[in-house]
């Protein structure tokens, strides 16, 4: 992996550990007060605790949504490869059909369902993660499908088939080992896209509750502060969002390059 990917990885580890343990810090004495003061919209919390909590929720949503979408993509791509012919075309066209439905419509529709099922005006974190999986599977499915197709044309796969290997054996022993790195890189590149999508849907008012914001929800609720003297209250969340997105891009692109080099 290149230096940029390593730096991105280190930053992500620090952010993950820092945000996951942020609730503990506030309980331990000796931690200095938040320099940004209290959150103007939710005065029971400080800007720091809201931002760090938001970082944790954004990372959780991104990782859960990305993992779910990529797992679904991998299963669909494997089924389409194993089924071949009609099944392959069905999965491919299904993904294309999904591209022509705007994400916003799917997310708003799922938010309506959540309101009916769970009650209240906001959406819970697991529901939001499931909604993000629902809109995020199509692009990774096409990418993994194409990857498996290109691996399928290689000589060693033809040789394995000629020696009598079953389709299942070809998939699990010959194709999957070369697809893992690629799928993991796609997962890492999906995470920032999911975090940004969540931030947009939260800005539209269909996201997490105000008391438990993600970074996007926090920025979406507080953007009006940019016009006044409290504009600094938005800056930490924005900077953390940029840092998270850049770090995931660096690690994801580093892994993608490596996956392409390692592949036969």
């Amino acid at each position: 992996m290149n230096l940029r990917a390593k730096v991105g990885g280190a930053v992500l580890v620090v952010l993950l550990v820092g945000s996951a343990t942020s609730a503990l810090w506030t309980r331990v004495g000796g931690v200095p007060d938040c320099v940004f003061g209290l959150d103007p919209l939710f005065p029971y919390e400080t800007v720091c605790s809201q931002t760090l909590g938001g970082l944790w929720r954004s990372l959780a949503l991104g990782l859960l949504g990305g993992a779910g979408a990529c797992a679904l993509a991998l299963v669909l791509a494997l089924v389409s490869r194993a089924g071949g012919g009609v099944v392959d075309a069905f999965v491919e066209k299904g993904a294309e059909l999904f591209f022509s439905i705007p994400d916003v419509l799917v997310l708003i529709s799922l938010a309506f369902v959540a309101r009916a099922v769970q009650g209240g005006e906001s959406v819970s974190l697991p529901w939001m993660a499931a909604s993000l999986v629902a809109i995020g599977w199509a692009a990774p499915t096409r990418m993994v499908q194409n990857r498996l197709r290109s691996l399928d044309r290689l000589d060693f796969v033809t040789a394995a088939r000629a020696l009598g290997a079953t389709e299942w054996r070809v998939l699990t022993r010959h194709l999957l080992p070369f697809a893992w790195d690629y799928v993991f890189a796609i997962f890492l590149l999906r995470v920032p896209a999911i975090i940004l999508t969540e931030s947009t849907i939260s800005y539209l008012g269909f996201g997490l509750p105000l008391s438990e914001p993600s970074l996007g929800k926090y920025i979406g609720d507080h953007w009006r502060l940019l016009t006044g003297e409290d504009w600094l209250d938005v800056a930490p969340a924005w900077l953390l969002l940029v840092l998270v997105v850049v770090s995931f891009h660096w690690v994801g692109n580093g892994l993608l390059e490596r996956a392409k080099k390692v592949s036969p």
Binding site: K93, E96, L97, F99, S100, I101, P102, V104, L105, V106, I108, S109, F112, V113, R115, A116, V117, G119, G120, P192, L196, S199, T200, Y203, L204, G216, I219, G220, W223, L226, T227, W238, L241, V242, L243, V244, V245, V246, H249
Partner: protein, 301 residues
């Protein structure tokens, strides 16, 4: 060319399928979580009105919104009146805004790619490397806030604010295309023909312009297709911040207020737009890429 038409025909089949899928989705959405009897009865009355206006929610009823629109009736069942004229106006607004945004995005993409390639391994080049991260990590609404504040501070005219809206929409897609184009240019620069061109006395700028750029354009077309479709379909964020009643804003308010008719018609238009743009991209590819041209003219085996 036959392949192109076969692909077009296959893609066109997705349009009615999208319409049916979206109709089924929106017609069966729960409208209220409130269990209060009065609201429930009013919702039941609303639903029966909805079914009387837009069909009973079966797959074959997906055409009812289009029939209403084409016969000049209003599509909205809850909010304000929404006719074919309103729809055409909104699509026109978004198309004109999107076309300006697409132009700006391509301009920025070329400038960014040429700068990135020209300044590689220099200090200014390292600064430029930070631009994609900053742009991709900034939600569009935050960019729109900054641009709207700028518009207020500079007291820009109506046309100026539309230009700013287009610029806001263009920044992220332009940077994305710029990154793809510059990566393709870096790959072309490593090829033997480029080194030969330099050895024959061309300056690096001339070699990039005459040799690398034409070979990198197909990569640009790959990236530009989805970007162009999404820009032309409008941006609800930019449109809401700059007060433009375009397709994006109409779509968002229809989805928010659960207006199945408007949503179905708008999604069908969006799906058709994707296909038209992908056809244009394929034609542009045939025009600029001789390899694609010869592959298209080859007889099918």
């Amino acid at each position: 060319m036959r392949r192109l038409f076969v692909r077009l025909a296959r893609d066109l089949m997705l349009v009615p399928l999208t319409a049916v899928l979206v109709y089924l989705l929106v017609m069966h959405l729960p409208y209220r979580q409130d269990s209060d009897r009065k609201i429930a009865s009013s919702e039941a009355a609303g639903r029966s009105k909805l079914e009387a206006t837009l069909g009973r929610g079966g797959p074959l009823d997906a055409w009812v919104p289009w029939q209403r629109l084409l016969s000049g009736e209003s599509l909205a069942v809850r909010g304000e009146r929404f006719t074919a004229e309103d729809f055409t106006r909104a699509v026109g607004q978004s198309l004109s805004l999107g076309a300006v945004a697409l132009g700006l995005a391509l301009l920025w993409a070329f400038a960014f790619a040429l700068l990135r390639v020209g300044l590689a391994r220099r200090r200014a080049g390292r600064v430029l490397e930070a631009v994609p991260g900053l742009v991709f990590g900034t939600p569009l609404f935050l960019l729109a806030v900054v641009a709207a504040l700028l518009a207020v501070a500079l007291d820009v005219t109506f046309a100026g604010s539309r230009g700013l809206a287009a610029a806001v929409m263009a920044v992220a897609p332009g940077t994305f295309i710029g990154v793809v184009l510059s990566d393709a240019l870096f790959a072309e620069r490593a090829r033997p023909y480029f080194v030969t061109a330099l050895a024959k006395g061309l300056t690096p700028g001339q070699a990039v312009w005459r040799h690398a750029l034409p070979n990198a354009v197909p990569a640009l077309l790959d990236a530009a297709g989805p970007v162009a479709a999404s820009l032309l379909a409008g941006s609800f964020v930019a449109e809401s911040f700059f007060g433009i009643k375009g397709f994006g804003l109409v779509y968002l308010s229809a989805a928010r207020n659960v207006e199945p008719g408007v949503v179905v018609v708008a999604t069908t238009v969006f799906a058709s737009l994707l296909i038209v743009v992908s056809l244009f991209i394929e034609l542009a590819r045939l025009f600029v890429d001789p390899r694609a041209r010869s592959a298209a003219l080859e007889p099918e085996r």
